[in-house]
Point group: C3
Chain length 338, copies 3
């Protein structure tokens, strides 16, 4: 892959009318597009706040291509696609593609020729989904389910949906703290991009310097760095605690779980620094007692499990919207009407 | 798990109106409840005695959580759920729950938050399904698909359905022999409990002392122990032969397959001691030539494969009933109407 | 298995009215039956040449029994069955059947008793599907998804559909070359049988002697052998290049990939010997640069990916037709009406 030769994702994930036809990354999408995703996701809840099932993707075939194993994310996409009445095929892509000496390109073309409408792609390399969308299968709707450390855009959108539904405030008016292992998180970068696009003016990244990525200063407008937990949290409307990955613990970057908890673990005393109605989010899976205390994880301000439910709604939304964007580009439908 | 602190399953598996909302164990369920399950299962056969497909669980999500592998039982639940038009997700629960250091409780809450309506749980520990129903996910309908040596309640109910459909006699009027490895069987205890509840007055447990569990004398009313095969079978209406588990053979409890067959194997001579219209059942998989002779396994009195078909109907019934019991408890439907 | 005692497949794969009730092999099927399959497959494309979804198998249960792993073929059958609205269960048959000492026969009977309507069978032994259809589960529609080196009949039918749709010529009027590893290919024998039945009069088998099977001269009418690539291709309407299996390379039969490519690789110079509108087919997965040059694999005459799409349509057709043939035999429907 010569990633240098790729067009920017923002160019290729939209059709000629400016609607999503792939969903690869938050970067480059407009506020209108993100809002359309959130509105569509919202429409999948009924009056009792429960997820509906709809025939939007009836007769469509969604293939899950998980080059990297992630049982949980795959399950959420499978649940979302089935709620849209799609046929779902979990492809054992690692085994399919390489065991018989076929090129990956040929494997993907074969899967497309099995009448696939949507590929949900998880890959450990940054840009894999982008590469497939641009150069291999542009006529299949490609949904990025996480690539390398780069992007996890459906996680970002479920975080945005949760903030909107749970705070009932405008993105312009809220203060958000993202705490922890920014460096190794697929989530942090996508969250910051989404928040900026949606107009958030006070985004605080709270971490020790060893857990900040190089070039962090380029995150841009509205983002401030805090090494001090209390200052970072102060008067926030939303706190997003990130998972400390086990394999990072006891590395030079992070001396011990106990030390991290002492410096950055979210507990009652610290949460009290935030606004009274501050919500607490976490992308899961949680390390209780490391980045978050159980009293908070199970406490009244946590919205962690609602994030999971919102994740189904958001995945339904991007599946449905990208499918419609493809059909519109091919002239098979005139307008997006989710 | 502090199992001592759990309420009895009979308390937690019924909703406020006395209808099933989980299906954990036969013990404590009333004759009316068991009969409702059998009637509902019966309603899933059409006039040609073939299983129907119905939209009863359309839009509902069933997750199979098999902590212990059992391809066959999982397949029967998957087939049953799909006949009810549910979305079915097979969760690789062993991999999901532990690999990232998350607690099992958090894993289950996450799955529930993916808008699961029903968990089908198979676990090697007695009481696992009960524990989940009481303390982790009381708002998800929990179906016990076998736990430890304790309970295998859907197997018991498919046995009851088979007895009712094949003998066309009342449970009060029949004599039943259960033969073989009572000690290690999930089936025997559940079968005895169901038979007692349904009014059966002559239940004979036939086994060498080494294959009887401790405390067997507590099985209670209507149950008699036989070491002698011929006496145990005499004039029976129903014979249930149990599987000898391979790993037990050649243990001190069971000197050899040949010896067991000689003492307790069901063959023509022995079957002739039972009533002429006695039916022969086996939970599968069979060891032909050990607990049952092939002439019987394939003979006119065997109903072994009809048990399998009845197993789909019974699983459809408990899935549908527990779902309705949950909805009723939440005030979303008024009455159970399968 | 005493294969000698089996009836011929042509006898057992048809019902009393001469309609398919299993699909085991091309041999013995009439031109009318093959044409019916092709017509039915064609009917599953809409006006935009896209595969439709239909309720033909709604409420039916299709079980995939892959004794031998083949992710790709399994995926195509799963996609086909879901487009027919069937319930699909992928059975881990290797694990189910043997781990508990049960006989294969008992395992299959159990699966049938779970209300299976169709088994899709892939097995490394020639005749396995035939054996199951004749002696184990005659009332389940058995579809052969490839057995040993013997038959791969759905691949043959998708090749026939591709020839019909892409050349728009009659089978009587075309010349076809099948090139490469005839000896180890499941495809070649089935393709030749289908072409003969459909009336093709000029079938050329092009290979070195080391890659021809024993008894090749018995292929019969219309088939000629060529060791010389150019002579074999000359004036052809259709070229089918076969996969060289990696494990054969560097065996005595095939000194090296480079040598094979030099003698039999399809490149521009050689393709120019064929008719101008000659189409190029390959069953996949391809070894680019061994049996086929990339300029041909991606060139304007290749129809390789359309074969894959046609494969879904053909599998839909045999699933639907065999199901109807079973229902007709049981008196449940009067006429085949796909």
């Amino acid at each position: 892959m010569h990633l240098a030769a790729l067009h920017s994702p923002s160019q290729i994930q939209l059709n000629q009318d400016g609607h999503l036809k792939h969903f690869l990354t938050i970067e480059g999408l407009s506020k209108e597009t993100l809002t359309k995703i959130l509105d569509t996701a919202n429409s999948f809840f009924n009056d009792q706040n429960q997820l509906i099932t709809t025939p939007l993707l009836e007769g469509r075939t969604v293939m899950n291509l998980f080059f990297e194993n992630s049982t949980r994310t795959r399950t959420t996409f499978e649940a979302a696609a089935k709620r849209l009445s799609a046929n779902v095929l979990n492809i054992d892509i690692a085994r399919s593609s390489t065991s018989k000496g076929e090129t990956l390109r040929d494997t993907l073309w074969n899967l497309e020729a099995m009448a696939a409408d949507i590929f949900v792609v998880r890959h450990s390399s940054s840009g894999a989904a982008h590469f497939i969308a641009q150069t291999v299968c542009p006529n299949v709707a490609i949904i990025n389910a996480g690539d390398g450390r780069h992007a996890h855009p459906t996680q970002a959108m479920l975080d945005m949906l949760t903030i909107r539904r749970e705070t009932k405030k405008n993105f312009e008016d809220i203060s958000i703290a993202i705490i922890g292992d920014i460096k190794h998180s697929r989530v942090a970068r996508s969250d910051v991009a989404a928040l900026q696009t949606l107009g958030c003016k006070d985004i605080r990244v709270v971490a020790p310097n060893t857990l900040l990525p190089y070039g962090f200063e380029e995150y841009g407008e509205g983002v401030r760095l805090f090494n001090d937990m209390e200052a970072g949290i102060k008067d926030c409307d939303v706190i997003i605690t990130l998972r400390i990955q086990n394999e990072r613990i006891d590395s030079p970057a992070l001396a011990s779980q106990a030390e991290f908890y002492k410096m950055y673990g979210l507990n009652k005393e610290r949460l009290a620094m935030a606004k009274l109605d501050c919500i607490v989010m976490h992308p899961g899976p949680m390390n209780r007692g490391v980045e978050i205390d159980s009293s908070i994880a199970d406490g009244p301000q946590n919205v962690i499990l609602r994030q999971v439910t919102n994740g189904i709604a958001v995945r339904m939304a991007v599946l449905a919207l990208a499918m419609q964007g493809q059909l519109q580009e091919k002239g098979l439908i005139e307008a997006i009407a989710v």
